[in-house]
Amino acid sequence: MTPRRDAVVRRGLRHVWRGIVEQPGMFTLAVLASSLYGAMTVASAWVIGEITDRVLLPSFADGATTAAALSLAAAAIVAVALLKIVGILGRRLFAGIMSYRLQADYRRRVTRQYLRLPLSWHQRHPTGQLLSNANSDVEASWFFVAPLPFAVGALVMIAITVVALFLTDPLIALVGLVVFPAVFAVNVFYSQVMSPRMQRAQQLRAEVSEIAHESFDAALVVKTLGREESETDRFRARAEELRDSLVAVGRVRGLFDPLMEALPSLGTLAVLLIGAARVADGSTAAGELVSIAYLFTLLALPIRAIGWVLADLPRALAGFDRVTPVLEATGETPYGSERAPAGTGGAAVGVEDVGFAFDGSTRPTLDGVTFDVPAGRTVAIVGPTGSGKSTLAGLLVRLVDPSDGHVLLDGVDLRRLREGEVSDRVAFVAQGTFLFDDTVRGNVTLGADIGDDEVWAALRVAAAAGFVPALPEGLDTRVGERGATLSGGQRQRLALARAIVRRPRLLVLDDATSAVDPSVESRILDALRSSDDPVTVVVVAYRQATIALADEVVWLEHGQVLARGTHDQLLAEVPGYAALVRAYSQAEVAA
């Protein structure tokens, strides 16, 4: 046995122990129920034996019987069966609850981490991976728990049997000492041979799925270039690899099942062979031998439960190994203790010598960025793709913290403010609009205590008051997962209303109006600026019309502020700026 394989068993047992320690109550109940089941399994055989000896044989011998004897026999059978049923129900229910509680519990812990960990952590992990960590990986981690109490009950039964064997006849007991470890060894061997094959099959399943996803996403390209057959060939190659790996899995499993069935039978036969000689020389009574042989056959099923647990452990470990890094990830957003200066209307924003680099990146995304936005002013951030505009927007609302320098709100560094202070004062509308699977109202208020009048007012400013009443249930219409029932422009306008309804002192829009008609966009920005006590707006913009509305434009290139000024100034003075703005105008929808 290689050390690595050895480690799988040891780590597996530690994982089992973890599950037991976290749900001791349910585990105890399930083991007790399993024991009741085991005891009643033995009892049912004993009852049949007793009935044979005390009711059947005397009746046939006497040629007569009594109603009382018969009904007692029937009642005994049913009574034992009912107790056995209680055992089965208890075992299944408690073991199920134990497994489901562990799943639910770990799901909560994992998703708590998602909410707690900083955005920079999220950016390092693909969405698909985080989704499967919380779902299938957690499920795989605790799947083995369902047959666990049964298996533990089986271990207890084996221990009792071995003791009983030694008390009856040490020589026959040796058979047990060969057969039970053999069963165990086969199980361990099985789980070790199986786990790499299962992993390979799982891997191939994922690859088959990836090809299907990619190919279906490429439907238009595939179809219009007439490449359906070559796509099918690509899919077939991987599907056949998967098939071969599943057949390989099946071959191992196909051998394991009959082996596990044959071993106890062979053990019984060995007991009989040795036992017959022992009975012949008078060391053991025939009756005892029969009961031992019977015990062997009874143990066959519970022993298999041990196999089920062991077989599932590699998968459980693999799942848990993927969950653990999430649970152990550190890097909380540290909050300060200060409150933001009181005040209404716009807040002043200061960006002082800010640098930012993504983890593992050698080139900074932002480098020495300095500018300020006086309270109530509107500033547009303009720059080519990859210049760091979105990163800058994220820094202003403290989605991430700068590597160097400071971001100030009314003169206070964002990092010195206590939790909730920034989100109470600053509203952010991201590039990719995100809506919750909730009602229109829920998406605007996000659970805050905001009256419908205010919601409607915000919808009006966001130019959403037109389409919301037309929805089937108005404010109460559910928008579907990520707002799937709405158009892109409608989603953006709801996201804007969500920001506006909070009466933020700073509003950061990261290309948040790209799907909104330009004239509507101008109206929205005008409404935001024209109030008596205007909000400070920082907008990452592409459209000339939007940019022209800003009091000042910050021209960003390669993470640095290369120019600042009004739109007209920059057009006249900065050639790169003029070229970019014109190119974007060109790209505008003609329709």
Partner: protein, 613 residues
Amino acid sequence: MTADEPLLAADTRAEGAFATLRRGLRMMPEFRRGLPVTFALALVATAGRVVVPIAVQQVIDRGLAGGSPDPSLVTRLVLLCALVVLLTAFAVFRMNVRLFRTTETALAGLRVRAFRHVHDLSVLHQQGERRGSLVSRVTSDVDQLSVFMQWGGVLGLISVGQLVVATVVMAFYSWQLTLLVLICFVPLGIAVRWFAKRLAAAYAIVRERVGDVLGAVAESVVGAPTVRAYGVGNRTAARLDAAIGRHYRAQVDAQKVTAAVFVSGEFVAALANAAVVVVGVLLGLGGEISAGTLVAFLFLVTLFVAPVQTASEVLNEAQNAIAGFRRVLDVIDTEPDVRDPAVADPGSVRELPFGPLGVRFDEVSFRYAPGAPKALDGVTLTIEPRRRVAIVGETGSGKTTFAKLVTRLMDPVEGRVLLGSDAAGWVPLDEVAFASLRSRVVMVPQDGFLFDATIAENVRYGRPGMTDAQVAVAFEELGLGAWVEGLSEGVGTAVGQRGESLSAGERQLVAVARAYVADPDLLVLDEATSAVDPATERRLTRALDTLTDGRTTLTIAHRLSTAERADEVLVVDGGRVVQRGTHAELVDADGPYAGLHASWRRSSAGEPEPAIG
């Protein structure tokens, strides 16, 4: 949401489990191959399963009875039994391996067939948001079937065999008692349907709750910036907890039903045992059976009961697996709305005429669903070969429909679309073999999808067999040589998943090269709306000029410059072509084009006309 709406036409059929199985077996001929041998092995396996305990019983009764065992008899019996045990084990092993091989082969075939068929279904490109559920039909649904076959299917099959064998042996001992046992199990047999329904309902709720959990988790991951920016972590946590709690309760409820179903077999078995004792004794007193027969019969009843319990265990998994099976079969059973005439009607199939291709619409109408308003309404027009035509119009005006009809992604509801020229003749599109059509007519979709491969492989997709050097030459011809050489590995640069290592504009450059090497005679371009940085924009414009040079080109235009450069502009509104002419003619004429133009100018805030163009 459209979640409970059927995805495919075939989904609406109501069908029992057995009907699904029959339909499935018809579609999986691989499944029947070698079946007789497998069945023979199954027979040996089931017989062995019944014989082994009986043989052990015989050793005990005959060899040890009366307290004075006969060691030589015991030895012979034990060896014989051991042989039976080993033989049975071997038969089970061989049977398992054969079954796994045939089922996996059959399922792989089914998976590939379904995959191929999905590409023929218009739902794939009409309803992009439902692609995920199509993917699951060729992945998780088939996986579920395969898992079921590996874990439950074989077990269920042997159990049924054991049930039959046990019944026959029981009847051999006493037909009266056999009848009694069967009568005891009749209520269970009837209840099975009800149980199945309860189980299906309970697990349907579990699946729904799983979906809620998935949705809630996705919100906490995808919506992470929003959750943080608005400080609504607690609210999101509460929603997650609620979804997880509901899922947990549904799981426990389902477990209760499962446990209840499982123990009902146990209970009926006890009743049967009790009844056999009582009735057996009475029969014995009447001289019908002997004591030995009765004892043996009690033993046989346990052999009968075990498979019944196994079957009830497998039942639930079988329900899910069959539901998945049905979803896969429905894919294959759904008729594609656009069929390749080379497949559908090989007799009347035609080739496109050689030379440049024009487009002719003859009273063409289209609607996306019966009863829906017409997306195109009686359009008649001819586009001469080698013209570059821009189609403009508001969102929903019908301009995309236009492109889909020309490329035969859909067929018109009324009228015909023809390709060809006055010189070479016009051929109705629905009579052209796909092989001919796809090699002559190429569409560059708005999102020029790139595969997770190198640039060269993505370009080669337009013309298989090209070398990397030839691909590099193609980029050179398109004026993109400098750009592609500037990448880290030239044409060998990997583009990442969905081309994400490239910018949106660069992806378009590759898509243009892909169309260029396909060398079509008719080109349909669906222009991207996304913003592109100026340098890429200039490259794209140049590359498009080369690509469209000398080819009939239909461009669904989103940019004014495209309309300005076109030989001709078609303005589509309300499903009709309302204006046609050059940009210069239309911009001053009365009609929607002037309005579109003005709207564009507004959005550029009165800036002078762009320099490029």
